[in-house]
Subunit: 239 residues, 2 copies
């Protein structure tokens, strides 16, 4: 069974959290929009011209007849099938809770450069973005990173994992959050990282996984850029 991932081409975006799980599992998947005719196929689903459920936005995943929308929903679904989720109910609920905190964090990271509206260009909300970026660096970044750091410390013995004693999809997502923050806020992260040694170590541990290493150096990995969630606007970073 080939999984079909539907997401915009050209940016890692929210699709990247799903790609990392599929890649680490060695799953058979296609990144539909990067294939010929793929954009038209995605738009047909989003416009309700295909049969079945209509998602609010990409990413969504087709798994045979099932259509799964939203990153946390997709990862929860794939987690069980690809052995990237805790096996016990308590662990699965914790993993989904953590992934939903990552979801909130990612939305806030996005809104640093779009505090007024997604329908406006960054340049048209730059004054507001400068103010929001200051609040983000001073308040939200330490709040979220500190939360995940404490969870890793509480859970981890030896190998670092968010829940339980094996690699799960939440670990992969936390890796990508660190990747993205380093791209978007290099100076703020350089200052902050000593306070989050478990996050830094988890990032290194995931990056060294053979399948992730192979993926990161492949053409399937898209580079960060100023069309995505994690954008590098020097004026929004720490001075």
């Amino acid at each position: 069974m080939t999984y079909e991932l539907y997401y915009w081409d050209g940016i890692p975006g929210r699709g990247e959290f799903v790609r990392l799980a599929l890649e680490q599992a060695g799953a058979d998947y296609v990144d539909v929009v990067r294939e010929e005719g793929g954009m038209a196929r995605m738009m047909a689903v989003l416009k309700g011209r295909a049969n079945g459920f209509v998602p609010f936005a990409p990413p969504f995943l087709k798994d045979g007849d099932l259509l799964v929308s939203h990153v946390a929903n997709i990862l929860q679904h794939l987690g069980g099938k690809l052995s990237l989720a805790p096996k016990d109910e308590a662990g699965r609920l914790e993993a989904n809770g953590l992934q939903l905190s990552i979801t909130d964090f990612v939305a806030e990271i996005h809104d640093v450069h779009h505090p007024i509206g997604v329908s406006l260009y960054y340049e048209d909300q730059k004054d507001e973005a400068l103010r929001r970026a200051e609040d983000f660096r001073d308040e939200r970044l330490p709040k979220f990173l500190g939360y995940f750091e404490r969870q890793l410390r509480k859970n981890g013995k030896g190998e670092i994992h968010a829940v339980g004693d094996a690699l799960i999809y939440v670990d992969l997502s936390l890796f990508h959050v660190v990747e993205g923050l380093r791209y978007a806020f290099p100076r703020a992260m350089a200052t902050a990282e000593p306070d989050y040694p478990m996050m830094v170590a988890l990032h290194a541990q995931v990056k060294a996984l053979p399948r992730i290493e192979a993926y990161l150096s492949s053409g399937r990995r898209l580079a960060f850029n100023e069309g995505g969630i994690f954008r590098y606007y020097p004026e929004l970073d720490r001075a």
Copy 2:
């Protein structure tokens, strides 16, 4: 087994989405923080002084030894146990996807009055809020309401439901979204509602459920106010 809901007292907030499911199911639950000593019990969990998983923020639910965080995770968990979720896998995935779109909508509704940061007062970000409110009313409100309207129309025959042919937790959450929007944006909603007849009808249908009717007129129901997600600031509504 008594469910324990942990959420701030004094506002309906995100806890209300969980309350509505517990109330409609006639479940045995306590609203912990509204009991004597409850605030200290919630803070002990949030500060990591209790055993077990530490949630990022309220609401969270204790179900025996299980601790479930985030509204969509709680509702997915309760949905199966309280017969408020679709019985088939495709339906459960769709319901969770819809609830996650509601989650995003609720976050955007909140950020209309807090576009710069939750650590600042509304009065300290009012200029930015005025601008964001315009974008919200013109772009985001119709985008989200239109999406849910199309889903109800596509799914519904006779009784209105988000997925399948029985009442599910998503229906209850959509009811509360309409309730809250009518409180926060009365003029914008009065203008918009004729475009969303299924949403209006679903709201009326849920409101007339005997257990919901009894709950809404009970002391357990907290009134909307300017400490919550849905706040009435006349200047943010349509002129």
